[in-house]
Symmetry: C2
Subunit: 357 residues, 2 copies
């Protein structure tokens, strides 16, 4: 059997490498575990899993709609927001069409593009940030979708509300702009986009969010898209009927109420971010200012070797080789104890590598 | 934004319609609930869902490999076997290529075909069975995939080992043959295909199985494909990294050990099948001989109206209008009590409809 030509070009996803016993700061998971309210729900609903899930995730969508003051028809729930990326390409990417994104960003935008036989155009980051001016310049008649990761994975940088608004007003409205906000709940900058407000202004914008990060539900796979009702209806056509599990829907709905847990996660993240940024300065490492639950630093060394050594010392992080940044590493902001352990391991590894160890 | 042309032709999936309080015999779920071992695992692992799932479902695949005496590389796990159908089309269906299946069967074969810009050719059932001779006749140079549902949903009929083997030996080996065995665990016929044996003979065969039916895990979304290692590797390229949730992987692995639960489900199904088939005879309804956990009957009446009345009386079943069989209904084999209730409701509804009520 012949593999579709575009599929033959697809590269396997490179996940964080793990080591039993090591502290995992590799995948931007919540260091406090899952939302306790979600765990309670999982235990309660475990005995109902012989039933098919609600195909339309009514309860979760209605809850999200109230939170965002949008209509439930403006929300689509996915088996992780990565499934929604693929569904968006499956709906709007024409055969042989093009998507545009940054050169160093989440790999699933490329996956989604190749899966549906398209081509991807990448634009270099500017100071570690999405360069929206250059991105606009890369949009042409063949462009069907632009993917913007904000805050950007793996650099943690962001584009502002004003920049995004200006970009949206200049991108032709036959091009879908997908803003992936997997880490938005950690952003504290005053000018971080109020993207749901922008949905009222622009008919070619879709915002993606996830329960994998701040809600601590990465293992359950649940994310959602906010967009114009017409877009959501179109994308719903390519949705497998039962894409989101019964437990994922129920747990996500419960996690939305877990204000105490969310506040604690944000507070811990703010403190950890400040601590890690100041420690990186002390160690002479340049790191991008982060609005996410991770820090990206340019080590000037071979990131893979550094990663291996830090893993031996007891912490797994992410070398950014697969993101096209072979001298950079990304570390999840953990608990204060985990952060201190990481700094200690990094310091040891740096000293060894710099002395040619 | 313009929707891809093939997507514009996609019809929304028609799920079983439900009524609060009614007994649900509409979706071929397990009447005994989920495997108790699986439920135990769910409760135990609920507190780990902040972690990403194992991208490769190692533990589950190894367990399945031991059961089937195949290599773990011959197994791919999906977010339900329906996701695997889409992935198979995403891998092998060429742009504008064709798939072949039966006219009255599971709708996701068509979904997968249209999703990847292909065309579907359907072959009429013969006495409610997949007509493999006519299916072979429908395979031509444009055919990339044949989908066979065995036992067939919604008729419950099956093709035999000899028929399938002969078919596979005559289908050109550039065409992938996908045998969807979602209900195979309920089959008791001596000549039901030993499909895993056929994997040793044919390089163009993939067998799909699910945890949604006999294991009672429909709400968790987990199915798997068995096939040649090369095919499994190719299909793995189009897999989203974290497609199967952490809980689904763990619960499925536990359910595989739940021999007592499985034996009880098979025993109940055999008895219920016999009971329902004899009751249908008594009521003068023609039903196809079933090898699955449901019975399909031709009522000679408007199935939708009959369905509505039976639902009012307290049981939801499936009218087969969306399957192209507007006079037929499908009922899941339930507990003895549920089966009796269904027969009672059916008898009442039939009497009313036949008297023009």
């Amino acid at each position: 059997m012949k593999v579709r030509p575009s599929v033959a070009a697809m590269q396997p996803y490179v996940p964080g490498e793990l080591r039993p016993g090591a502290v995992k700061l590799a995948s931007n998971e919540n260091p406090f575990g899952p939302s306790p309210l979600a765990v309670e729900t999982l235990r309660r609903d475990a005995s109902s899993v012989h039933l098919y899930p609600d195909q339309h995730a009514h309860r979760l969508r209605e809850k999200l709609a109230r939170i965002y003051s949008v209509d439930p028809d403006q929300i689509l729930v996915g088996n992780g927001s990565d499934e929604l990326m693929a569904m968006l390409a499956g709906t709007y990417l024409q055969h042989g069409g093009t998507t545009v994104t940054a050169a160093n960003t989440f790999s699933t935008y490329e996956f989604a593009t190749l899966l549906y036989g398209g081509h991807i155009r990448t634009v270099p980051l500017l100071d570690g940030r999405f360069d929206l001016e250059a991105t606009l310049g890369a949009v042409d008649d063949a462009t069907d979708i632009v993917f913007i990761c904000n805050p950007n994975n793996p650099t943690g940088t962001y584009v502002t509300h004003g920049e995004l608004e200006s970009f949206l007003s200049r991108v032709p409205d036959r091009v879908l702009v997908v803003v992936d906000e997997a880490y938005a709940e950690f952003a504290t900058a005053a000018d971080f986009p109020r993207s749901v407000e922008l949905l009222h202004q622009f008919g070619h914008l879709v915002v993606l969010r996830t329960f994998s990060k701040i809600y601590g539900l990465a293992g359950l796979r649940v994310g959602y898209a906010l967009g114009p009702a017409g877009v959501i209806r179109d994308v719903g056509r390519v949705k497998l009927p039962f894409n989101v599990s019964l437990l994922a829907q129920a747990a996500a709905a419960s996690a939305l109420d877990d204000n105490e847990f969310l506040a604690r996660a944000v507070r811990n993240n703010n403190e950890g971010r400040e601590y890690l940024e100041s420690e990186m300065k002390r160690l002479g490492l340049r790191c991008y200012p982060s609005q996410a639950n991770f820090i990206c630093m340019d080590t000037g060394l071979d990131a893979s070797a550094l990663f291996r050594r830090i893993m031996e010392l007891g912490v797994t992080i992410r070398p950014l080789t697969s993101f096209g940044l072979p001298a950079s590493i990304r570390v999840t902001i953990g608990t204060p104890e985990q952060n201190r352990l990481f700094v200690k391991c990094l310091e040891t590894a740096l000293a060894e590598q710099r002395s040619g160890g």
